[in-house]
């Protein structure tokens, strides 16, 4: 029977191909939506994995997470610098590190932070090592800069008419292992350098810009976009990561609490305080996933609709096909093929085509999701893990079960057909 089925499909290869492709496309649509949504969820959750607690100025919690975890450029309000001072000194905190944005270089965001954050959120260096001086930078794995390369920071986004800080240059001293997060595309520099460039904070040795600590303090509370008071970095200055006095205003601080209980206590404390807002990125993302899930549901209904249409079209094709071949089917019966064999042939042919289509569709859907994830990663640095789960096997089985049921209709038509009438016609 199998041999006959294969010979038949080979003979009708063009029609078979069309059916397989139709099924494959319908399947791929659903599979791609499922995989892509899952990849987005997993990828963003993994990107936020190391970000236990984020403290920022009151404002949009979502924006706070998007800016710190995904380094999405936005003008965040600043909170007083002594928040960091307090957090660093807090016994419930393992480490706390400022995250300062605003500058970029060749499309890569420049993020001012500390060695504690880099050590705490990455797995070490592919080449080189940690910055030790103000003029040094560490780059993520996705940044196309070699050790020793020069980084000239530009204020604001390149496409928005930003200005360069002409006299300030960082040198790349280390490249990090990939983390699969947006930070892979970031250039990490000492936070003090960012402050100095924007004329904030203490200037240990150089006072020629004419601003002092009071001037810096005046900037507290201003937004990142408002700095017009430029300084430059002192490339050879040693790192100062004490943050115990006169810290300039900050957009966000990443906090690593010692225990989960500490995390909740800290969030509570910095949430009720009128000048700060503390969020668990994981919690904010859960809210976003709910929205994402709704979008997925809509897309899945669209996919189901397409699948139902294609299933209906296939039924039509199958019934017409059986009608066209009634003579052949009648002859099979006349020459002694049992009715069940006739049923089996029609059923098996259809099921085989659908099975190949479903298999191909899963491949196609996976490919499409992988392709989209690749585009997303190239743009944002966040790696999206496109992967199948046991639930997808259930989906494939469901597809095949429905196909098996639907193929039974034309097969039953063939089964019931009288050989005499078929041969006469």
């Amino acid at each position: 029977m199998i041999r006959f089925v294969f010979a038949d499909l080979r003979r009708l290869w063009a029609a078979s191909l069309v059916i397989v492709l139709l099924v494959a496309l319908a399947t791929a649509l659903g599979v791609a939506v499922t995989l892509q949504e899952r990849a987005l969820r997993l990828g963003s959750a993994r990107a936020a994995d190391k970000f236990d607690l984020i403290v920022g100025a009151p404002g949009s919690e979502t924006q706070l997470v998007l800016s710190s975890v995904f380094l999405q450029p936005a003008a965040l309000p600043l909170m007083p610098g002594d928040v960091l001072t307090k957090l660093v000194a807090d016994p419930r905190v393992a480490w706390a590190a400022p995250i300062g944005f605003g500058d970029n270089f060749s499309g890569y965001p420049i993020v001012g932070t500390t060695t504690a954050l880099i050590s705490g959120t990455t797995t070490g260096f592919v080449a080189g090592g940690m910055f030790a001086h103000e003029g040094e930078a560490v780059v993520g794995s996705g940044v196309d800069l070699a050790i020793g390369a020069e980084v000239k920071p530009m204020h604001g986004a390149a496409g928005e008419g930003g200005e360069t800080h002409a006299d300030s240059i960082y040198h790349v001293v280390g490249k990090l292992h990939p983390t699969g997060t947006a930070w892979d595309r970031a250039i990490l520099v000492p936070i003090q350098a960012v402050w100095h460039i924007h004329g904030l904070g203490e200037d240990h040795d150089h006072e020629e810009d004419g601003h002092d600590e009071h001037a810096a303090a005046d900037h507290e509370g201003e937004t990142g976009e408002a700095h017009h008071h430029h300084g430059h970095i002192d490339a050879d200055a040693r790192l100062d990561e004490d943050f115990d006095h006169e810290v300039p205003g900050l957009p966000t601080v990443l906090v690593k609490p010692k225990t989960i209980a500490d995390a909740y206590k800290l969030r509570q404390e910095y949430r009720t305080d009128g000048t700060t807002r503390a969020v668990f990125p994981a919690e904010v993302l859960t809210g976003l996933y709910a929205t994402l899930g709704d979008a997925r549901a809509v897309l899945m209904y669209v996919a189901y609709g397409a699948q139902a249409l294609i299933a209906a079209a296939l039924m039509l094709i199958a019934v017409i096909h059986v009608a066209q071949r009634r003579k052949q089917i009648g002859a099979l019966r006349a020459f002694g093929a049992p009715r069940l064999a006739v049923f089996g042939i029609v059923w098996l042919e259809l099921l085989l085509l659908v099975a190949i289509g479903v298999g191909l569709g899963f491949g196609l859907g996976y490919g499409a999701a992988e392709f989209l994830a690749g585009l997303f990663t190239a743009q944002s640095g966040v790696r999206l893990p496109v992967e199948f789960t046991a639930a997808d096997a259930g989906l494939a089985t469901a597809f095949l079960a429905v196909a098996a049921l639907m193929a039974a209709l034309p097969a039953a038509l063939a089964y019931r057909q009288s050989p005499v009438e078929a041969l006469r016609g």
């Binding site: 010979a7 038949d8 020459f335 002694g336 093929a337 042939i345 050989p419």
Partner: protein
């Protein structure tokens, strides 16, 4: 080898006043050679359908040796036909995409009756009908060759009766003569009863007995002329 006895057989179709075929009494002995002739619409095809068990008469019995096939269910008749009847039809009904050997074996395979012995017999039969390439695809064959594949298929399961419906009508004279000769020779060789529906006189003349149908009735019978 099967004998055939029809008695009181009549079949009518809805909307037709006259029965399409009505045969009161017809007997073909085991190993007999019967030719059925008649104009189109005379009931020849209905005769083939009835005696091969494809169709059931409105009344009457059709007895092949001890089996009255009118009492069998459709599935039982299918099985009986597969085991006892070798059919050869005007349109060959070979399946494109399969080789000659696969075509010969197809019904047996679908009925799960293709043993090693049956497979060997398929090749032997193809050689016997003069086809030397069992692996040849049937759509590359001439019409005469195709009908010879159909003859080999009909004989595969050692049927007790070979029923041929216009076996030469779609062939040229030479190929038709060859197929006719093979049918008679193989029926002899296999000891099968042979029933041929045909208006090909060169074929029907070579059979023991000829009946002619008109309007569903036997209007001439060579057996009756010899022994009334």
């Amino acid at each position: 080898m099967l004998s055939l006895t029809l008695s009181g057989v009549s079949i009518s179709f809805a909307g037709l006043a006259q029965p399409v075929l009505s045969i009161d009494d017809l007997t073909v002995p085991a190993g007999g050679r019967l030719a059925v002739t008649g104009a189109s619409g005379s009931g020849k095809s209905t005769f083939v359908n009835l005696v091969s068990g494809l169709e059931r008469p409105g009344r009457g019995t059709i007895r092949w040796r001890d089996t009255d096939i009118t009492t069998l269910s459709e599935s039982r008749r299918d099985r009986w036909r597969a085991a006892n009847v070798g059919l050869v039809m005007q349109d060959f009904h070979l399946f494109p995409g399969l080789t000659a050997a696969d075509n010969v074996l197809l019904p047996a395979r679908l009925a799960r009756a293709a043993t090693a012995e049956v497979k060997a017999r398929a090749l032997a039969l193809l050689a016997r009908v003069g086809l030397s390439r069992p692996g040849q695809s049937v759509e590359t064959m001439s019409r005469g060759e195709m009908q010879r594949v159909a003859v080999a298929r009909a004989l595969l399961r050692r049927p007790g009766v070979i029923i041929a419906d216009e076996p030469t009508a779609s062939l040229d004279a030479e190929a038709g003569a060859e197929v006719g000769r093979l049918l008679i020779e193989l029926a002899d060789q296999e000891g099968a009863t042979l029933i041929v529906v045909s208006h090909d006189e060169r074929l029907t003349e070579r059979l023991d007995r000829r009946i002619r149908l008109a309007a569903g009735r036997v209007v001439a019978d060579t057996a009756a002329e010899v022994s009334p």
